[in-house]
Symmetry: C2
């Protein structure tokens, strides 16, 4: 069974489950877990209690085999064919992902993209709050958005350190992205969501996820007219 | 060597290379190719001609082994240790991805996100042009952006068919995303970039890439304070 080869044991002892999980869940699985939480909660909101891997796979649009392989880390919550306890599974995965608290996030860049990010209603329910905003534009500096005042990037390192912010969003032009990233990390940021079309150089301790719509589009043209 | 197990032959006969490539390149590799093209062109713009997999790996921030494994599909452009011809490799990959032409794209949603997308300067150099814009908001309908007039979603299917558009961007709220997607596909769209936090149901012939910043952020909190 591939779950064993790829991901280690597919059951956890209740006692030291968390520790085992942190050691054994590969990043590719971690990346999928948020979609499982979101989908499980959607199904709950529609009254579902027990969810089979087939139902979940159908909702998410992946194979039931992958769902079972990924959720095998949470094997004690359900057995293949028996179905998972939707609420407990969603809560457990959210806990594993540390989503049972709110995370303050620093946003760098208050242009069209930055403003779209600030006004997006999905962050708070997802456990995030834009707690600091930075932009070089003099017209933007001093503006207040939901109680957050836009500041100059020159203040970024100190402000991030003062607020204890661990996550940042890079929504500045490509040419400014590395400098802004360095300033964020100097302030204590360990996780960065990068919208700039550049590969950021960061210390090993820092996690970076790219939001790269252009590359996504360029990888779809391959399939057009095929 | 994993390249053989995962990706089939790592050399192509010059004669039917393209056909072989289309048969043998896995999607995960296709997704990485645009980054290679972008990076190779950046290196060229700085005067580089021959690039080693180590240099490319350093620029992109992945392992040289992965670069060699992926680029082994283009083995005739370079040998391990010898370096790749940057210009020819970039052109060949761009050709494989069908980026040696311009693609018209339909945008659904002209809120903050849609406006950020429309004003993004990176699409044209990346071979894309926003050729149609749709929004339900009466204030948006009729507005002209770079020669494109914002139209009602009610006109979307006909307009997309009339313009022969094959790619669409979903930048509407989650609750409207599926309906908008269906209308795009009815007009002839075969590739969709989806910003809405929902899994779209589409025919098998349609390629969908998700832009899911919230899930990306939720998969990084796992590593914070570790």
């Amino acid at each position: 069974m591939r779950a064993h080869d790829d991901h280690g044991p597919d059951r956890l002892s209740p006692r030291n489950g968390a520790a085992v999980i942190e050691e054994t869940i590969p990043d590719i699985v971690i990346r999928r877990l948020p979609v499982y939480v979101r989908t499980l909660r959607e199904l709950q909101s529609r009254g579902a209690t027990s969810i089979s891997s087939d139902e979940l796979a159908d909702q998410i649009g992946v194979t039931a085999a992958q769902i079972r392989r990924d959720l095998s880390y949470f094997g004690r919550f359900g057995k293949q064919g028996k179905g998972y306890d939707a609420e407990r599974l969603a809560e457990e995965i959210a806990h594993i992902l540390r989503l049972d608290r709110q995370w303050d996030v620093a946003l760098a860049g208050f242009g069209n993209l930055g403003q779209a990010i600030v006004h997006y209603q999905g962050f708070v329910p997802a456990s995030f709050r834009i707690a600091a905003i930075f932009d070089r534009n003099e017209d933007a500096i001093g503006r207040e958005v939901d109680g957050v005042v836009v500041k100059s990037p020159d203040e970024m390192t100190d402000e991030i350190a003062r607020l204890g912010i661990k996550m940042g969003i890079i929504a500045v032009p490509a040419h400014a992205a590395q400098e802004i990233t360095d300033a964020m990390i100097a302030g204590g940021v360990d996780a960065i969501l990068n919208y700039a079309p550049v590969v950021l150089r960061t210390p090993a301790r820092v996690t970076v996820r790219e939001v790269d719509p252009v590359s996504a589009m360029q990888s779809m043209t391959y399939y057009l007219d095929n």
